[in-house]
């Protein structure tokens, strides 16, 4: 096994990871920073796929209080109030950095001021964007900045395998990585580790996320014994594209299309939202629209390809081409002309709100372990607003980078437990035989999660999923470990499925404890929200493998729910056209 040492190890290659690396380096350029990315750093992960934009209070008529209240309302009141406040109040600092320090090009109004639009659940037009391809702009510019900071060591296509802990199991001392191409395990000793690998939406058979993700950071933190919060909260986006048996299926068609007046139809041509939310219809919240679509499909009123129909024909080609050029092109490439055809869409697993429990410095419950982006939980509560996700990645990526640099300046490297390292190495050190196909098991797990751990849950579905997860885990042991680990997709898929199973168990446990429906979590057997469940669900793996479960009242440290009013819809303001946008992509 190869050995490395560094001050800060960052596991991940998307927005939060890259932002953290840049910030940590700039805070102290003498720090030895390693970035290990499962794909190409800056090219993998979901930040790049962001369409909507970045929520930030900039306009004098907007306020932190408004953004904050929108975020808590969207989160159905169980957000970590301190984290949500950090998100809102640090968002402007980051947008100034993105504009002035890293050189992003954001859309402008004709008078030269920055253009902001509104996404669902916002009381003000506060989403900074670049056309409908904001994520590409952010990641292109951040990747440039990573590249010119030559001192940062970037390991492309090198995944996290497991964390290194001290003998007491309380302090993280580094991680074991796997270099995909060389097949080499690398033990990296570090003063501190940041997990920013992204969430586990790809657990589900239909997902919008980039497909290399498999909840690696979450699973690593789980196995190391870090605390988790609200793992039952997984957001499903209502309009994932259906492109037959293609990897394109599940990718998101932005909700601006519904905000602008798009209709959702079932196979009978009915605007079925009138039966679920007659007031807001298609502009209702993501969770409600997703659930309604799922129920229509389940009731046999779905489309030919097990979806529903999105109808935007009446919006006209000119409008569609101008407001959603990226989406127009994407649909055309799979055979739908948005201006002429009904588009088959399905709910799709989109974003994991739950994650590693962190404080406002991105510290986990284990010393030396930090989490940011989708690996961290609590910012968004039970549901994330459009535009708050990429803001979270940038804000908390930056906070993590600063905090890691400060910590690394004053800390030594811990002494890792060699037995733990040996155990990790032993898992992959010897070739085994077996006939199981990890890709088949992945497909089975995706189906189980979709049917039983997904948009609609119940005591019965949770029982079924537990048994199925056990069975799949048993079969996973029959996937052979190859003699050569180099460039081996079977081994990686085995590791992916193993990680997804760990995350699925956390989702399962939390969903069982939350006997109500709130935000993205819906229990058919407890279909209403309950004030008894203004709680956070905390899970932590114990050394003996059992799961500590705690139900803690939400700390209303800044705002009590009685002081919140109003409801959330997609504003029609979304229909406003961007002033200048990328027309080429």
């Amino acid at each position: 096994m190869e050995r490395k040492t560094c001050d800060i190890l960052i596991v991940g290659g998307g927005g939060a990871a890259v932002y953290a690396a840049i910030h940590a380096h700039d805070a102290d350029p003498s720090l030895d920073i390693v970035v290990a990315s499962k794909g190409l750093a800056g090219k993998s992960g979901c930040t790049r796929m962001v369409q909507g934009g970045y929520n930030v209070v900039l306009h004098p008529d907007d306020s932190f209080e408004k953004h904050y209240q929108d975020t808590l309302r969207g989160g159905a009141l169980i957000n970590n109030q301190e984290l949500a406040w950090m998100l809102v109040t640090q968002a402007p600092e980051r947008i100034y950095e993105l504009e002035n320090r890293y050189g992003c090009y954001f859309d402008r109004h004709p008078d030269g001021s920055i253009h902001q639009r509104a996404l669902a659940g916002q009381s003000f037009n506060r989403t900074v964007h670049r056309g409908d391809l904001t994520g590409i702009e952010l990641m292109n510019r951040l990747s440039e900045q990573l590249l010119i900071r030559k001192e940062i060591r970037v390991l492309h296509e090198t995944r996290g395998v497991d964390l290194l802990l001290d003998r007491a199991g309380k302090r993280v001392c580094g991680a074991v990585l796997l270099d995909y191409q060389r097949g080499e395990l690398i033990a990296v000793e570090a003063k501190a580790v940041l997990l920013a690998t992204g969430g586990a939406a790809p657990l589900y058979k239909l997902t919008a996320a980039s497909l290399e993700k498999s909840g690696d950071g979450l699973a690593m933190a789980y196995r190391a014994g870090a605390e988790f919060v609200d793992m039952e909260m997984m957001q499903f986006h209502p309009t994932g594209l259906i492109a037959g048996k293609s990897v394109m299926t599940g990718s998101v068609l932005e909700e601006g299309l519904r905000g602008a007046g798009g209709h959702l139809l079932n196979a009978e041509g009915e605007r079925y939202m009138q039966r679920y939310d007659p007031g807001k219809m298609e502009r209702s919240t993501r969770d409600r629209v997703s659930r309604s679509g799922f129920l229509e499909i389940r009731a046999g009123r779905g489309s030919e390809l097990d979806g529903v129909y999105l109808d935007v024909r009446h919006l006209g080609k000119d409008f569609l081409m101008k407001s959603s050029p990226g989406m127009y092109k994407r649909c055309l490439s799979v055979g739908y002309d948005m201006a002429k055809d009904l588009i088959q869409v399905t709910p799709t697993a989109h974003f994991q709100m739950g994650g590693v429990r962190i404080d406002t410095q991105c510290r986990s419950s284990l010393e030396g372990l930090y989490a940011a982006g989708e690996d961290a939980g609590g910012v968004h509560g039970a549901n994330r607003l459009g535009g708050n996700g990429v803001a979270e990645s940038m804000v908390f990526g930056g906070i993590a980078g600063d905090a890691l640099a400060a910590y690394a300046a004053g800390a030594d490297r811990g002494q890792y437990d060699p037995e733990r390292l040996d155990a990790i190495a032993a898992r992959y050190g010897r070739a085994t035989t077996g006939k199981a196909n990890p890709f088949d098991l992945r497909a089975q797990l995706g189906e189980v999660a979709w049917q039983h751990l997904g948009i609609i849950r119940s005591a019965g579905s949770l029982r079924t999923s537990a048994a199925e997860i056990d069975r799949i885990e048993g079969e996973l042991a029959q996937v052979p470990v190859p003699a050569s680990l180099a460039g081996n997709a079977v081994l990686h898929e085995r590791m992916n499925v193993g990680n997804l199973i760990d995350v699925a168990r956390l989702i399962h446990a939390a969903a069982g404890l939350r006997k109500e429906s709130r935000g993205s979590h819906y229990r058919e057997d407890f279909p209403e929200p309950s004030d008894d469940f203004l709680v956070n669900i905390v899970l932590q793996r114990q050394e003996n493998g059992s799961l500590r479960q705690a139900v803690e009242p939400v700390a209303f440290s800044r705002l009590h729910p009685r002081d919140l009013e109003g409801d959330t819809v997609i504003p029609t303001e979304t229909a406003k056209q961007p002033v200048s946008s990328s027309s080429e992509v």
Binding site: G39, Y96, G135, I136, S143, L211, V247, G335
Partner: protein
């Protein structure tokens, strides 16, 4: 575009294991199926050792650029029907070292971006407001027209001058230098033109347009490089300002 329904196609894939190309018969469920779908089918059901790279699968990350029937393309964004061919030949990008089968090492390409100075350097790093920049401002409009590159390496592979190693500074880097040369927020601005005018720069470009004809992001690279040449010829490379 002709779209012929086919139930299977033959993939002919360049391999690095020394045995030459592999052939795979792969089902095509729909003419909209992506070439990436076919590769995944091979990996999952026929040969898990096949090496290729992808991530976002919707044309946004640029990880899966390779040669499809001899031309640079994203396999996630190329439908089988659009190729209208019963045989699909796949090979890795040119001009970059091959790692495994269809995967190349992108690092030399990234290094070339860095060495060419194709990255923003702030003039006012700590500024805490957003500059007013009207979209019809001539320089901003020039930038907007050229933005959208996702550094996939396709142009680097297609252009004769980078492909045959005459220069490491290819169309992607020069296009970015053009953008930055027009960027009022950039500390170096037009001083970056020195790279464009230098030994590894524009002089190798013969405006053949190979870069723009393959760009999966549709960036008008040829236009950008011509405008960059105009700036160089007007002597703006010699100005210390912008």
């Amino acid at each position: 575009m002709a779209r012929t329904e086919r139930s299977t196609v033959t993939l002919v894939v360049a391999r690095t294991d020394g045995a030459g190309a592999s052939r795979f018969e792969v089902p095509v469920p729909s003419p909209h199926s992506r070439v990436l779908d076919l590769l995944l089918h091979v990996q999952r059901h026929q040969d898990p050792t096949l090496g290729f790279r992808f991530s976002c699968r919707v044309g946004m990350c640029g990880s899966c650029a390779m040669l499809v029937n001899g031309k640079e393309a994203f396999v996630c964004d190329t439908s089988v029907g659009s190729l209208d061919s019963g045989t699909v030949e796949l090979a890795p990008l040119r001009a970059l070292p091959v790692q495994q089968d269809l995967k190349v090492d992108m690092q030399p390409f990234f290094d070339a971006q860095r060495e060419a100075g194709a990255a923003f350097e702030p003039s006012e790093a700590d500024r805490r407001d957003i500059r007013s920049i009207p979209p019809d401002d001539a320089r901003r409009a020039a930038i907007e027209a050229q933005n959208g590159c996702i550094t996939c390496g396709s142009c680097h592979s297609a252009s004769a001058w980078t492909r045959d190693g005459r220069s490491r500074v290819g169309p992607a880097a020069l296009n970015r230098i053009y953008m930055l040369s027009n960027d009022e927020r950039d500390r170096l601005g037009a001083r970056r033109l020195a790279v464009a005018a230098g030994d590894e720069g524009l002089l190798h470009c013969h405006a053949e347009g190979d870069c723009v004809s393959v760009c999966p992001a549709g960036v008008p690279l040829k236009t950008g490089l011509r405008k960059l040449l105009d700036m160089v010829e007007r002597g703006q490379a010699l100005d210390s300002g912008k």
